[in-house]
């Protein structure tokens, strides 16, 4: 198997000389927002719009806790505002990070590294959210029941067991199968990139 022979055949291969219709290219560029990379950037920008609205809406939904709950419940609900602000800033930072990826100016290794970084951030963020959000919502649920029904006596062992079981199922089924496999893939790609750049001294 000789790469130089393939090179000669590659150079003379006429089948790559295909004509493309202008109408097809025009249709493609009319769909420019549907590109995979543009979609990713759009999702991050949408998060900038959605996060403030959902954080404030959540506080309104928790009105009963604010009105009838104890100081812990009130603080727990209001903590959603700085959490929302933190998440908003994180999305804002990610948007800036993605905007800096310029495929026309950066080298292949630079783009590869940036994309791998983005995927790593996304996965770590999602795994953290998968652990912290159920925890936050679990405590919120306790405050909600306590403020509305005074059920802190019933809302104890049985509910905790069911809630923790569901949270574990959520964690292992969704997070493990979906995201840990991606981490292994990213780590493999990162190793390949590092090996590739190894002799570049």
């Amino acid at each position: 198997m000789d790469l130089d022979t393939l090179k000669r055949e590659w150079q003379t291969n006429e089948s790559f000389k295909k004509e493309v219709k202008d109408s097809m290219i025009k249709e493609m560029i009319a769909n420019r927002n549907k590109g995979a990379f543009e979609r990713i950037k759009r999702y991050e920008r949408e998060a900038l719009r959605i996060l403030p609205i959902t954080s404030i809406a959540f506080v309104f939904v928790s009105a009963s806790i604010l009105m009838h709950g104890d100081i812990f419940g009130i603080c727990w609900v209001l903590a959603m505002l700085p959490i929302g602000a933190g998440l908003w800033y994180w999305s804002y930072w990610l948007c800036g990070f993605l905007d800096k990826i310029d495929m026309s100016r950066m080298t292949v290794t630079e783009v590869s590294r940036s994309i791998l970084k983005y995927r790593t951030y996304l996965i770590r963020h999602t795994i953290l959210a998968g652990i912290l959000m159920p925890t936050y919502l679990g405590v919120w649920l306790y405050c909600f029941f306590k403020a509305n029904h005074g059920l802190d006596g019933v809302y104890s062992v049985e509910f905790l067991v069911v809630y923790l079981s569901l949270a574990l199922v959520f964690f292992f089924v969704i997070i493990w199968f979906r995201y840990f496999r991606h981490i292994r893939d990213i780590q493999r790609n990162l190793r390949e990139l590092e090996e590739f750049e190894q002799d570049n001294q």
């Binding site: 198997m1 790469l3 022979t5 393939l6 090179k7 055949e9 590659w10 150079q11 291969n13 089948s15 790559f16 000389k17 295909k18 004509e19 493309v20 219709k21 202008d22 097809m24 290219i25 025009k26 249709e27 493609m28 560029i29 769909n31 420019r32 549907k34 590109g35 995979a36 990379f37 543009e38 310029d102 495929m103 026309s104 950066m106 080298t107 292949v108 290794t109 630079e110 783009v111 590869s112 994309i115 995927r119 790609n189 390949e192 990139l193 590739f196 750049e197 002799d199 570049n200």
Partner: protein, 155 residues
Amino acid sequence: MEKDFLDMIRQHNGIIYKVASFYADKENVLDDLYQEVVLNLWKSFPNFRKESTYSTWIYRIALNTCISFFRKSSRKPMYVELSPDLKVPSEDNSLYVNELYALINQLNKLERAIIFLYLEDRPYKEIADIMGITSTNVSTKINRIKEKLKKMSNN
């Protein structure tokens, strides 16, 4: 600007198609990759300052696009279907060439990029610029990949 862009695509369509087919592992991914490259070219076209030739600029964007492209398993339907003519030309190749393609497909994406540019007979300096490594490293890498392909074919 659109007219200039269309002229450029028509002139260099072979490069885009070659890169996309080099990285496509299934027929329908070729359509995705081709369109993704065209979209990225269109996005960058207004900022092209002629610091390099069109072909170098296209190689860079096309390779960056194909290497960084990742589809979700539940992919959305294709928005523009390529003409039936623009498909991987495997029927035209000899068995030898197809076997070598199969081996090249087993290389990682970065090695494939170097091999692609080597097959395109690009100067080592240009390959180094596009890949972000030194010219000496390009030469070393190509020799290593040749050895790797030889070992893979013997196995």
